[in-house]
Symmetry: C2
Subunit: 302 residues, 2 copies
Amino acid sequence: MRRSVEAASSLFERYLERARRRIDTALDARLPRAREEPRPLHSAIRYSVFAGGKRLRPALCLLACESVLGSSAAAVPAAVALEMIHTFSLIHDDLPGMDDDDWRRGRPSNHIVFGEGMAILAGDALLALGFQTLAASPLGRAKDPRALIRIVTEATGTEGMIGGQAMDLLSEGKRTSLKRVLAMHARKTAMLIRGSLLLGAEIGGASPGLKRRFSNYGLRIGLAFQIGDDLLNVRSSRKKIGKAVGSDQARGKATAPGAVGVERAERESERLLREARRIAKGLGRRAAEFESLAVFLGKRTS
Amino acid sequence: MRRSVEAASSLFERYLERARRRIDTALDARLPRAREEPRPLHSAIRYSVFAGGKRLRPALCLLACESVLGSSAAAVPAAVALEMIHTFSLIHDDLPGMDDDDWRRGRPSNHIVFGEGMAILAGDALLALGFQTLAASPLGRAKDPRALIRIVTEATGTEGMIGGQAMDLLSEGKRTSLKRVLAMHARKTAMLIRGSLLLGAEIGGASPGLKRRFSNYGLRIGLAFQIGDDLLNVRSSRKKIGKAVGSDQARGKATAPGAVGVERAERESERLLREARRIAKGLGRRAAEFESLAVFLGKRTS
């Protein structure tokens, strides 16, 4: 059994590894050079974009496009835009006025290296550059050119990531129900994971029914991913996640294990991943990879 | 002579007053309600958007559209998006890690009222909402639906407002040439003024030649506007500009009067406005209003 779980999860891991290389090359080509003015801004942008991210969101975008269209070449710029916008959120989340994290992925946070002002601007620039990149993306089989922008702004704005981060800040130090934690995780994390799939599906020309399926799958994967992060934060060593152990608890963050304990949080994550695996079976040519991601996420915290 | 300057400048002022009311109504309809969750985020957004802004950028967008098309109704959502993005920049510029201004337009800055974290997020949300609003804007006579996004991201990103603010931060406390100050003002201020005109012109279906003319006019107006702000900061009372007198000097900001003295800065502004008035004559049906704006900006600091 263990062996088949390994095999199932490694299918997605192999895809992720291949996608990472494509994305990193495209990101490098698309970002302003560090030697162009204003240099510290461009260095700050590149520091956080090339900080060892897994490129999960771009990979999901490529995978969804491939699953529908058979090829993901048209989705590469859109995938790059997603990573820019994801990196914007990481830089801003770490700021002293927000989560005040000095470390990210085992390295000093952006504002520690470049100062608070430059970190704020690097985040702002990545958000703008993400939309600029999307507006120059090939359309593939997308019918409405502005649908791409709409998918990503919905996932990013007050009903998505930014609204979720506000809920996160506001819940600090308060007792929070699992329902409210999940509503926050949905906006803060799941909306952009879902948006990444929808973006790839849109470029691939997916039917409305298939898009709904991607949406349902993405929300579950996204929620399970964030609950997994909560669980890792409770358990892992600094080495593994690159920041202080139990930092969520120390800051009174609203988390799934904080709301209902580790065991019930694990059960919630397992339930979501079970549903995701079931939905994954109908996700087109890359169904096996989507199933594999659900297995992979389950393994990550078990 | 004085009387004719009054009459010429008031033509634009009257347009601005009418545009302000249209824009405020459309902004109110488009922004998330303060009673919807997360409430503090939405309150922070509305606090800064409705802080008595002149709505110069939206008015320029409407005016450019009207000048080409004869009507500006199609440009209202795009104009609203510009004000959202402008307000994002004001909120972030005031943050302690940036210009550290406790006051804006005679009221406490966003972060003073809502805290740093919520102010960062309110700015982020306005930037995302600006692009969301643009992606839902009517196209008018624009041929490429994504041209609207491209015009605004160019004006906002590392080659526009955000890059300019980075140059501004980096120049603090350093001796700076007029050339460098103008390069910074061009990105920080003039690019979005120009972008506002280009956006309206695009929706109005302007010819390439007319768009170039709007671009040339916008850069000059934008530079003169920012030099005017520099001059006001040196001279005016706190009451008039809503922040401490001479705050630029106290912070060692790079400004035009700081680089070459008040008199040469005034001459530079007059030169730019003279050129703008000349270009304005060829800007279509609303040429008189565009000329009037140049007169208005000259009057502001004289």
